[in-house]
């Protein structure tokens, strides 16, 4: 770790920016608590996944170049999402020809970029947080974080250190919730079937709170839980780790 406080650029993600700024502020708090200086570059918009996953390479590349430029000069780039983190770490380099300047820059950004919980544990070597949050919780692994970035124990370890949180594992915590970006609106029936299975596993744990690290999955699962009238509260992992109990859960009234 460098002597001076690490300079971290926060990649907010488009969903946190638009739907749930409280996640962004929770991330900032967690980063500042471990001694980072946090900045939020103005020029960021989205990581470009909607274009990339729709086969639109040109736009994905243009957006990637924008992100690369916006985050030049930071020691680290931290993302409160495994999916957007995976996009930057795994997919940006694939968007450019090997050996090109863009490829080099994409690799340079990829090496500095981390999902929030893995940054705290792997880079900042933190294994506990000072927070209180009453919750009988279960954790859903979102696919990209798990399979592209290998994040599994990191959020669980940190959550276990939060005073008041008890964690119980659901069956198939690592199986997709059916979000999949545009998938969930292009094939809503399949998505819903996947969601139904996920809900059964969540409910079987007896948890009162569902936690995950990606806004897309969280909105999908919260939307379904509320549609069927479930009382289970849905939270982003950053909010729980930051002890932000005051903000209403996702899709709940103020």
């Amino acid at each position: 770790m460098p002597e001076s406080p690490p300079r971290v650029g926060l990649f907010v993600t488009c969903l946190v920016d638009l739907f749930r700024p409280s996640v962004g502020f929770a991330a900032v708090k967690l980063l500042e608590d471990v001694g980072c200086t946090v900045e939020v570059p103005e020029a960021q918009t989205c990581c470009g996944q909607p274009a990339h996953n729709s086969g639109d390479r040109a736009d994905a590349r243009a957006i990637a170049l924008n992100v690369i430029a916006a985050f030049r000069g930071f020691d680290y780039v931290v993302v409160p999402s495994g999916s957007c983190g995976g996009m930057i770490v795994k997919h940006y380099p694939e968007l450019f020809d090997t050996g090109s300047a863009g490829h080099e820059e994409a690799l340079h950004l990829a090496r500095r970029t981390h999902e929030l919980t893995s940054f705290l544990t792997r880079v900042m070597k933190v294994d506990k947080v000072e927070a209180r949050f009453p919750a009988r919780a279960t954790y859903h692994d979102s696919c990209s974080g798990l399979r592209e970035l290998g994040i599994r124990e990191e959020p669980r370890k940190l959550l276990a250190s939060v005073e008041g949180v008890s964690l119980r594992e659901m069956t198939d915590a690592d199986v997709c919730c059916g979000f999949g970006g545009t998938f969930c609106v292009k094939y809503p029936g399949i998505s819903d079937k996947m969601l139904e299975k996920k809900l059964r596993h969540i409910e079987a744990t007896g948890a009162d709170t569902l936690i995950a690290g990606d806004m897309g999955c969280l909105m999908n699962m919260a939307g379904k839980l509320k549609r069927v009238g479930s009382a289970i509260k849905v939270r982003h992992v950053a909010e729980v780790l930051a002890g932000d109990y005051a903000t209403p859960p996702i899709a709940e009234a103020e």
């Binding site: 909607p50 996953n53 729709s54």
Partner: protein, 472 residues
């Protein structure tokens, strides 16, 4: 039923989701396969190393496929067998028919073969007065129902026991109507009894091949019921149907891949029967067919070599990616509309029938990555699905509304200042519409979402706006 309906994917899906029997059958089997594979994998510490080796073997073959095909053909000839090259399904069907005619065949027994499905062989044989009899239990069942397999290794996985019982009672009218078929073993026994008589009367036996060995000219099939052995040894003529990518250089290479195949497929260390065939019966052999033929099908595969899709040809059809796919488990194999279902089907089908006809398949994925995680041949399936979406995008095959919507979004996303204003407005409007309830029952342009879910409302201001306020 055997028609291709990849274009009707959405209708197929709707039907599958509403089919209670199918849904019941799928919830029963998926988890069983997964648990067995996990156990087999955990019992073999070098599993992942074997996967790397297996990948290396196939990559090497694919890079030198022409050489190995030539070697293989020469060896088959040396051992007294015949090789028939078929570029298209038409040519493959014609070759099979000609061999059957020469043998004066009235009936052929068949081991499980996906290539037979790919070339729609049964229909062709029937149209030409030859009766095909499937001897793999699953294939036998779906033949009775005039259906396609819904899974690469478990063709009847979409059916419940009760459905199979009903089919057997419908077809096996020579048996006592009062018999007990309430347990699966009794169904297996009954099918065996019916089939036993067919093996002996068949004139030709047709099997697939899990591997073709260049070094020896052998073909290998892997089965659990032993039906393949009877199919290929009892009739006078044995026809092997295989596609060109089934080749491996040596017997040792095949053994390496076999070690990951059964574990990935059924969680067995080895399948019950691994059967090698090399040429026909030689003087002094106690049994075996008089003639041995191999039909080598290309059907578009050679065109895939050297492209971004080449890795799909490493597939050994173990079915692990299907078993682990949440989309496959939600809709079953028939929804995919053609021969190869599941994740690998969604990569292979567009290559064989054209992306124009199969554009839904690569789109119906969340890119969850579980297929790639379990594939013994380490095929990067999500990456290839994305490549198909790129082709689709290049050729303007997506629906116009989607294309425009995406184009507009990207145009704004490339302009941070404009993007800030647009998102600030959207956050405010949606938050207002939610009237403090935190969610919406309906949202503009989001009917696909709100059909099944509430739409979580924004908190009101964007992060960037609040961050600015906090700084100033």
């Amino acid at each position: 039923m055997t028609e291709m309906s990849t274009t009707a994917f959405k209708d197929n899906v709707a039907k599958a989701l509403a089919d209670d029997q199918l849904q019941f059958a799928m919830t029963e089997t998926g988890p069983r396969f997964i648990a067995k594979r996990t156990k087999a994998r955990e019992a073999l510490p070098e599993f992942d190393q074997l996967r790397d080796q297996a990948r290396g073997i196939k990559d090497h073959v694919l890079d030198h496929l022409d050489i190995y095909l030539e070697r293989y053909e020469a060896k088959v000839k040396e051992t007294g067998g015949h090789v028939h090259w078929a570029e298209t399904p038409d040519e493959a069907r014609a070759a099979v028919l000609e061999i059957c005619r020469k043998a004066n065949a009235k009936m052929v027994t068949k081991g499980k073969s996906m290539i037979s499905e790919e070339i729609d062989l049964n229909r062709h044989l029937e149209e030409n007065g030859i009766t095909p009899v499937e001897t793999d239990l699953g294939e036998y069942i779906i033949q009775l129902r005039n259906e396609r397999p819904s899974h690469i290794i478990a063709p009847a996985v979409h059916l419940t026991r009760g459905q199979v019982e009903a089919d057997f009672r419908r077809v096996h009218t020579h048996l006592d109507p009062g018999r007990d078929l309430s347990e699966i073993p009794s169904l297996v026994e009954e099918a065996r009894g019916v089939l036993r008589r067919k093996y002996l009367t068949a004139d030709v036996g047709i099997t697939g091949a899990n591997f073709l060995i260049a070094e020896t000219g052998s073909s290998i099939i892997v089965t659990n019921e032993g039906n393949g052995d009877l199919t290929q040894t009892l009739p006078k003529v044995h026809i092997v149907l295989a596609s060109i990518e089934k080749l491996v250089p040596t017997l040792e290479d095949a053994t390496t891949i076999l070690r990951v195949l059964a574990r990935s497929a059924t969680g067995q260390e080895f399948s019950n029967y691994t059967t090698f065939s090399t040429g026909g019966r030689r003087p002094g052999d106690p049994d075996g067919p008089a003639e041995y033929h191999v039909i080598l099908l290309d059907n578009g595969r050679a065109n895939v070599l050297g492209t971004e899709f080449q890795d799909m040809l490493r597939c050994i059809r173990c079915g692990a990616c299907l078993n682990h796919c949440p989309v496959y488990n939600a809709v079953g194999g028939h929804a995919y509309g053609w021969v190869y279902p599941g994740p690998i089907g969604s990569v292979v089908t567009p290559a064989l029938v054209g992306i124009e006809k199969a554009r839904h398949l690569p789109n119906a994925s969340t890119f969850c990555g579980r297929c790639e995680e379990v594939c013994p041949m380490r095929i990067p399936i999500p990456k290839m699905l994305r490549h198909w979406r790129e082709k689709e995008f290049e050729r303007h095959l997506q629906p116009t509304t989607m294309r425009w919507g995406l184009g507009l979004w990207a145009w704004v996303a490339k302009r941070p200042k404009l993007y800030r204003r647009a998102t600030a407005l959207a956050a405010r409007v949606l938050a207002n519409q939610a009237h403090g309830k935190g969610r919406l029952k309906k949202a503009p342009l989001a009917s696909g979402w709100t059909e099944f879910r509430d739409f979580p409302a924004p908190q009101g201001k964007t992060f960037h706006r609040l961050w600015k306020e906090r700084r100033s």
